[in-house]
């Protein structure tokens, strides 16, 4: 049952990721990304990471992507992007760089590091409520409190930086 769900969701996830890259229409692309994020949330759910799945939907699909779609609606009201592609010279680099990346992935998959990391026996059963909010909360606010707080400071710094940049451009 779980396996069937996994394969269906995985196919939809890969298809939507491809559609995101291949569609010329920016709104369609953004909406396919929403579908993709939803699929990943279902995958989290299959791994019994309930809180992570809901956070994924609320934050990525429900907040960040809404802003993306909103920005596209405001800035590009037409159906397709118009004008020449400003990133055209980069296309020449795309093929060799893609090949390098593919080679790297192949090498890593073949390397002994990856094979050693693969579990031979099935992983032990998760303790009850492992993906629940209590576990996540305890990890974030006790065991990893410092990195967690530093991340929030980082986000705040990014926010202030964006504001400063935008203000300077306007003035």
């Amino acid at each position: 049952m779980n396996l069937v769900v996994f394969f269906v969701v995985a196919v939809v996830a890969v298809a939507s990721a491809l559609a995101l890259v291949l569609r010329r229409n920016p709104i369609h692309g953004a909406l396919f990304l929403v579908v993709n994020l939803g699929c990943v949330a279902v995958l989290y759910l299959l791994l019994s990471a309930e809180f992570l799945a809901l956070a994924q939907v609320i934050i990525y699909a429900g907040a960040i992507m809404v802003l993306f779609v909103f920005a596209i609606m405001v800035l590009i009201p037409g159906k397709e992007e118009t004008g020449p592609d400003p990133l055209r010279p980069q296309r020449l680099l795309a093929l060799p760089l893609g090949a390098v990346l593919l080679l790297e992935i192949a090498l890593i998959l073949k390397s002994s590091v990856f094979q050693a990391a693969q579990p031979v026996a099935p992983p032990p059963a998760l303790p009850a409520g492992a993906g629940g909010i209590e576990t996540v909360g305890r990890l974030l606010l006790r065991d990893y409190l410092f990195p967690f707080e530093v991340t929030s400071v980082l986000l705040l710094a990014a926010l202030v930086g964006v504001l400063a940049l935008a203000k300077r451009k306007a003035g």
């Binding site: 309930e50 809180f51 939907v57 907040a63 809404v66 779609v69 609606m73 009201p77 629940g132």
Partner: protein, 368 residues
Amino acid sequence: MSATLTDLGIAFGRVAFVMLFVLNMGGLLTWVERKQSAVMQDRIGANRASIFGLRLFGLFHPLADAIKMLTKEDFLPARADRSLFTLAPLVSLVCALVAFAAIPFGDVLRVGAREVPLQAVTLNAGILYVFAMLSLGVYGVMMAGWASANNYALLGGQRAAALMISAEVAIGASIMGVAMVYGSLDMMEIIRGQGRPLFGWLAWIPAWGIVTQPLAFILFLTAGIAATKRIPFDLPEGESEIIGYFVEYSGMKFGMFMMADFVETVVIAGMTTALFLGGWQVPYLAADGFSFPWGATAPLAHLTVVTLQVLAFCLKVSLMCWFLMLVRWTLPRFRYDQAMRLGWLGLFPLSILNVAVTGLVLLAWRAP
């Protein structure tokens, strides 16, 4: 085999109950909207639809509406984005419909050796689920505005998106206080927590959310009304004069947007009931019957208790729907900038303040 079949049947029954409850409430609300506004404005209201001369106070009007919408021409604007235009009302309605699934409508029902939680889906973080589904509903509105290839619709969609985002931020922040007081994100646990009595000489009052979190109640209700996009926050659609995101829609697709608004009203009423009005709790009713604070007791059978609880939940949701209708027919519409200012400079800081104060009080409470 028969055990799994029974389990499947029980799961189906739980989902069916919630589905039928929400759909019927949504349909009935179209009637309530007409009749309640008529009573408030000293009119008679819609009463012409009849089957064999039977009118039933206009209760057949939702049926007549459905027939009208299904038989109307399904118009598609020439330059519209076909797939998104068709998908948009579906997204709106489905997100609103599935949101109710995590709201419990009763305590655990014991049949023989089985324990059936009266809730369509039992979730560890149920509030977050409802919240996630509400926040996904924005896409339907934005897609509709964009796909119509109409600038007025596009502007309406943007107003809707801005309004719903600012409302959801306030909803999320006001829920936090409730989750802190009852120490859970599971709606069942929160409702059980609301069954306990308050402290000291106030022990005759059950600790409902509206008593422990009065500020959050007001903030949540305001933000909730804004999330349903109905008057006084109907600036995305402005059915009477400004043009909204569904201006190009007709027939059943428009009907689905209308329905989504009504269903969202039911969801907000259900959430308010579950978080602030004690959910399925009946005052002084415990699992084995009534036990009043002055000492009197009235033992009741398990089935009676559960029935009373489910009825109490339905009654509370109906009352909240009535109240939301009352608001909708009383207040004038906010202007766009007023609604934004209310959301970001009023509701949001106040709910953060509520969280901070709640945290301090809880710390002081548990310190000794």
